[in-house]
Symmetry: C2
DNA sequence: TTGAAAGCGTTACCAG
DNA sequence: CTGGTAACGCTTTCAA
């Protein structure tokens, strides 16, 4: 079933069918209707490959995210979902590419074989070879996250520095003096993972500003690691009364560790951090946290990318978000520190 | 940068370049090397669209899953991740399609515009118009889940009937006599969602077999709904001592409801169900559950689909999995029922 | 308002 | 072992 067949049945030329369908040039109402009838009857739809070949656009965007070695988190899930839906709203399809770096086969296919019109990059690193590569090629892309030199790029990101700082100030205001920071896994930190670095930074600076005693930890992306990490924290400094975490996947384990240590949240110990809200609401007591608006970010990223695709000369645009801390039930005034 | 340019520089014909690259016909070692050198130098990669048009294969598979109206669950995340990686291992890309039904624009694009070679269907319903549609078209697809008439289809699925029954027997063996079933949202049940129906079925039959007193509930896919559901359960029958759930997203809320009601798990109340293991391990106490091997299922689905794509005449194959219950910490012997 | 024809970049068949 | 050439199915320019 191809355009020639439709043309033949309608007794017109293929170009007329093409124009009737795309509306890119006027077609008499009569022939348009005749063509439409036949198209509907036969359920004809133009081949995506042929169309892509002819006009150079695939109507597909690539979503690049690292492979699951480092487990997927709930945030990522929300991103993916919202990107796919936002893209569908613009009549774009989404091609998933599990690429950690430049040299990935999958990444090369995406670009080299011109499978997509543009790309959205997740899990940005401060020095990100994928972002650099795309920028060098002038390939339309939007990052979810900020590299070290984000000025001339398109992105939507969270201000992790400010967010972590806000958590610190919240705890300091409640009277906490000895607090811990639970980061993502060390391996992510080593590879320059943006949120881990900026979050750590914001935490450290704000804590210094408030004159707090702090320790910082890396923690695997799962409950078991969270539990172990919490034990380590209390072992290193039993007088710790609060923690800030960026590690959503470890959250359940942190809570469990606290329970096992006999620390009641929030009476004896306060917990806060940066977490997507549906996960913050899953734990008991519900987590007071800066809610990551993952769904909104995905949508914004798509909107930005579509804009960039439509106006290839548009100047870079960014969204830097700083969601407020949602007060729930996991933080409270510091008690008398145990010594 | 196209194949003609490579051919020109190498002083050979385009077909020779094509064959040198694909290996589909012998090429003298000399010219092969010369071509390869130029290809490497220029970083040439054939255009996916042109190739797809010429040979009718897109090297892309579609992953069809419903839109997020009914929030995404952790299981779905694991599926998506494993499908993408397994596909990459076979050099396939994955196109995401958020389609609930047949008539979705996105679904139509996938098929009608021939964007993919085959499809994997998630979130199967007992009567599934997408599955029917694909079967009628003879379009290669693999379902994750079983329709009401799965005999001649390709699928990988969990035996939810057996799984729910196993949970019931486990609880009955521990002496529980009054148990509740917490299902997915009513809307999913109404639309014929497979796991919800088969799970309910297995639960009901096994409970009857063991002579248990049961109540069954539908529950929204989030923590708040879980908490409300638990309150309802204890309100309807305060003597309930255990529950079985298929609802991963509500789990945190169920636990919270139990805590608020002063029921200690597992001393006063046992909880079990069917849940992906990383989520079972997130809650405290860790959930004794039939672990959904989501990652393995995704991989199996891709393997099946690739096999079907390679041998279009292959007879249907299925994987029906019945993972055992992992004993963790959320179930225990029934105490004296409260009246 | 319409048609003819030239691409788009591959692959694969037919000759040599 | 290699080259020429006809598809693949669409879009778009050029002419009428």
């Amino acid at each position: 079933m191809n355009i020639g067949e439709i043309a033949r049945r309608a007794g017109v030329s293929r170009s007329t069918v093409s124009y009737a369908l795309s509306g890119k040039r006027p077609v008499s109402e009569d022939t348009r209707r005749k063509i439409q009838r036949i198209v509907d009857e036969l359920g004809y739809q133009p081949s995506a490959s042929a169309r892509a070949l002819a006009n150079g656009r695939t109507s597909t965007i690539g979503l690049v995210f690292p492979p699951a070695g480092n487990h997927y988190t709930g945030m990522q899930l929300d991103f993916i979902g919202s990107v796919v839906e936002a893209a569908a709203a613009h009549d774009y399809d989404v091609l998933l590419s599990p690429s950690g770096v430049d040299s990935d086969r999958s990444f090369q296919r995406l670009l080299g074989e011109r499978r997509v019109d543009g790309a959205i990059l997740m899990e940005i690193r401060l020095e990100d070879d994928r972002a650099d590569h795309l920028a060098a090629l002038g390939f339309p892309s939007v990052a979810i996250g900020r590299t070290a030199h984000p000025e001339d790029g398109w992105y939507v990101a969270l201000d992790h520095t400010a967010l972590a700082a806000a958590c610190v100030h919240h705890l300091a205001d409640l009277g906490h003096r000895r607090i811990a920071f639970v980061n993502r896994p060390e391996q992510l930190l080593r590879t320059g993972y943006e949120s881990a670095h900026r979050g750590l930074d914001g935490f450290t600076k704000a804590a210094a500003e408030r004159g707090l005693t702090v320790r910082t930890y890396c923690c695997g992306d799962d409950a078991a690691a969270g539990q172990a990490c919490l034990e380590q924290i209390l072992h290193d400094d039993p007088a710790t009364t609060a923690l800030v975490t960026l590690n959503e996947a470890a959250l359940g384990g942190l809570y469990r560790g606290l329970a096992h240590a006999g620390r009641h949240v929030p009476r004896d110990f306060s917990v806060t951090g940066v977490v997507a809200n549906r996960w913050a609401e899953t734990v008991t007591p519900q987590l007071t946290a800066a809610d990551v608006p993952a769904a909104e970010m995905g949508r914004l990223a798509v909107d930005l990318l579509v804009e960039r695709l439509d106006h290839s000369d548009a100047p870079p645009r960014q969204h830097l978000l700083t969601p407020p801390i949602s007060l729930r039930a996991s933080t409270g005034p510091a008690g008398v520190p145990q010594t």
